[in-house]
């Protein structure tokens, strides 16, 4: 079989560039180990020309942030007729917009914490103090404040009391014009990765996240040693089965393909609460999807190559 030509897109002009580059190098290394011809490229003014001139067999994007995750890149690749790993533009758009994804999954009967999405413009018309007071009263503290469209942990704040609420809003608005305020669920943080190697989507072993500091922030995600990961998670098998079931519903109902990662909080009663789904999961050395792949007993290199080969057939 001829070696597969894979163009790995990584980097970009985004605050997640560094993470994306690390993910891209990991993917490219694994693909190379499996015998593919992997080339890493940063998106820039020459990307479209490069794509059209080189016509790779498949593109694998590890771009985090808007261009890579909001459906734009997927639209362009679809238009150019170039195969790519992962979800199409429609699926990416739905997943990227956290409030929309929550609404769609709530319609499927999936539990997701109560939330409200507030655009920056709304605060110009309404009195910010009274809006925040009302939201705080209705949702209760602690709550989480996060950009409505963003990856990683940047712009995320857990707010324990009214005092820090406005500041958290300003922080989140630095990353996105819409901010989602969500009721915080106390419990166990869980990530379920989904992959589809040709026989339909499969939920991989759930990863339980236990950051030393108590919060899974940027430092805890990307500094080795700052977080303990349990794979599979130390939860009842019925809870893990339920999380896997929900993750698969999320993957399917948003129309996602090949790989995704679904994040949950499991409350003290064992109920998994859907938080968000990511179509371009991190692939760094500390990322969750690679851990789940390994815990399933799969080789990263073989799995990534299988995903890339399948993408050419979609």
């Amino acid at each position: 079989m001829a070696a597969l030509k894979v163009l790995v897109l990584a980097g970009g002009i985004s605050h997640e560039r560094d993470v994306s580059l690390k993910s891209g190098r990991r993917v490219a290394d694994a693909l190379t180990d499996a015998g593919a011809l992997a080339e890493i490229k940063e998106p820039d003014g020459e990307l479209v020309g490069h794509l059209m001139a080189t016509r790779p067999d498949v593109v694998w994007s590890t771009l985090h942030g808007a261009v890579g995750e909001d459906g734009t890149l997927q639209d362009l690749l679809q238009l150019a007729g170039i195969a790519f790993v992962g979800s199409n533009s429609a699926g990416a758009r739905l997943a990227w917009n956290k409030p929309i994804a929550k609404v769609l999954l709530a319609r499927e009967g999936i539990s997701t914490p109560q939330s409200i999405t507030l655009p920056k413009s709304s605060f110009r018309e309404l009195n910010a103090e009274s809006v925040l007071a009302m939201v705080g009263t209705e949702l209760g503290f602690p709550l989480t404040v996060k950009p409505a469209k963003s990856g990683s942990a940047q712009g995320f704040t857990k707010v324990s009391e009214p005092k820090g609420f406005a500041k958290a809003m300003i922080d989140a608005f630095a990353y996105c014009d819409q901010v989602m305020v969500e009721k915080f669920v106390e419990g166990t943080e869980l990530a379920v990765s989904i992959i589809d190697l040709g026989d339909g989507p499969v939920a991989l072993p759930a990863v339980e996240i236990v950051p030393e500091s108590g919060e899974f922030g940027y430092n805890e995600r990307y500094t080795p040693g700052q977080t303990n990961y349990y794979v599979p998670a130390r939860l009842e098998s019925t809870v893990l089965e339920e999380a896997a079931r929900i993750a698969l519903i999320a993957h399917r109902s948003l129309g996602l393909s090949q790989l995704s990662r679904v994040d949950f909080m499991v409350d003290e009663s064992g109920k998994p609460w859907f938080l968000e789904v990511n179509v371009t999961p991190g692939m760094t050395e500390t990322s969750l999807l690679p851990q789940a792949v390994l815990a399933e007993g799969l080789e990263l290199s073989d799995t990534y190559l299988a995903l890339a080969r399948l993408a050419t057939k979609n």
Binding site: R17, Y222, T303
Partner: protein, 419 residues
């Protein structure tokens, strides 16, 4: 596909139990991650304190390289002495003399950039909890080293004339009364990084006296002294005293930071330990880089090159100040007479660290003021480095920055300052 691993717990660091306690201070940061974007050509970086090496005469560097390879190749490719190349140290004497600093060639130690000299000195002097007095704000690289040594970093009030002698004496006496050991005063007296301010001649004398009386060693870091716009800065503190001052110099700003060649002039007893520490850490500073610098100094009119840098940076400084006046009329700025930096002070409530992602979205980067304090201050400050972008791009970058600031001011007004 083959099964490879069963489940379990991992934290991706099998050696977590083994690190020294001080390694706890080493962690990734979002700000550092953001600087990754700076290398993109679309982004105007006002962040890194980099010289404009494109203004160097490339032919002269090539000639220096050829001369080195023709005449000193076997020395350049070999280990050297721990103190550094003798000929280079003699040449360093000449450079230091330009700022009134005179010292024996035996008291000069060549280091891997002056940053390495600072690391060696910190290693020699600082135990956990020892006090280092620094300007407010102070150089980020120094703050990082002192923090890593688990020192107590005490920022002393600094105004447009440099560190305040009154505040220095007060801080030293207060900390001594608390039973703390005050070991060092670290200063960048000329066109300081990050503030751009210069310590006046009168204050230099006062600062020296205060430190001598209290047996506090002064670390005088002077990478920018030759890069003045018009009037020369006052003579170095080391020119006033040879026993209470350790003087750091560097070729990073007057030649190239890529060569990583700096030096330290220290009293003999300290120098003796510095050489041993240098040998212990790196055996010898890179012979290749030292000899390239030495050849360059021999064959090139390096003082003319410094004049070129001065003119260039003055033009860029002017562009920066003009842009700040035009686009950021409500922002206070320092007006440096040399060096690389403006130090901006924003309205109360704005946070330069939290603004940085927005700035990156607007394709401009800067360094948040918090980087220059060891005590959490600096949120309302921004360091602008004007030396590296073109003068035009300095203006473009500041115009982009103004958009970010206006958005933030808008948010602040929306949510109130008491947030």
């Amino acid at each position: 596909m083959t099964k490879t691993r069963a489940g379990g717990v991992t934290n991706f660091d099998a050696w977590k139990h083994a690190y020294a306690a001080r390694a706890e201070n080493l962690a990734v940061s979002e700000v550092r991650a953001l600087f990754s974007v700076v290398s993109r050509p679309e982004v105007v970086s006002l962040a890194g304190g980099m010289p404009d090496v494109a203004a160097l005469d490339g032919e002269l560097i090539e000639k220096a390289f050829e001369s080195m390879m023709a005449n000193r190749r076997n020395y350049a490719l070999q280990y050297g002495g721990g103190q550094g190349d003798l000929r280079l140290r003699e040449q360093i004497q000449g450079i230091m003399a330009l700022e009134g600093v005179h010292g024996s060639v035996d008291d000069i130690t060549v280091t891997t950039g002056s940053q390495h000299a600072l690391e060696l000195i910190s290693d020699l002097f600082l135990d956990q909890g020892d006090v280092v007095l620094v300007e407010a704000p102070s150089y980020v690289g120094a703050v990082g080293i002192f923090r890593h040594k688990e020192a107590h970093i005490e920022h002393v009030f600094t105004d447009e004339h440099g560190i305040s002698p009154l505040a220095l004496a007060e801080a030293a006496d207060r900390l001594a009364a608390e039973g703390k050991k005050i070991k060092l005063l670290y200063l960048v007296p000329n066109f300081a990084n990050p503030s751009g301010v210069t310590l006046t001649a009168e204050r230099r004398v006062e600062v020296l006296e205060i430190c001598k009386e209290r047996k506090i060693l002064i670390i005088e870091d002077n990478p920018y002294g030759q890069l003045y716009f018009g009037k020369e800065p006052p003579k170095a503190i080391r020119s006033l005293d040879d026993s209470n001052v350790v003087y750091l110099g560097s070729f990073s700003k007057i030649l190239s930071p890529g060569l990583r060649v700096g030096y330290v002039l220290a009293p003999p007893a300290i120098r003796e330990k510095l050489v041993l520490a240098n040998e212990s850490a790196i055996l010898s500073p890179a012979s290749f880089a030292q000899m390239l610098v030495s050849e360059y100094l021999s064959i090139a009119d390096w003082q003319k090159q410094i004049v070129t840098f001065r003119d260039l940076y003055q033009t860029k400084r002017d562009a920066a100040l003009t842009a700040v006046e035009k686009y950021l009329p409500k922002i206070q700025t320092t007006r440096p007479d040399g060096g690389f930096f403006l130090w901006l002070t924003m309205p109360t409530g704005l946070n330069s660290k939290e603004m940085l992602p927005l700035a990156v979205n607007e394709l401009v980067a800067y360094t948040p003021g918090t980087a220059f304090f060891g005590d959490g201050r600096g949120a309302e400050n921004i360091r602008i480095c004007f030396s590296h972008p073109t003068a035009e791009n300095v203006g473009v970058g500041i115009e982009r920055l103004s958009r970010v600031l206006n958005q933030q001011i808008d948010l602040l007004e929306t949510f109130g300052e008491g947030n």
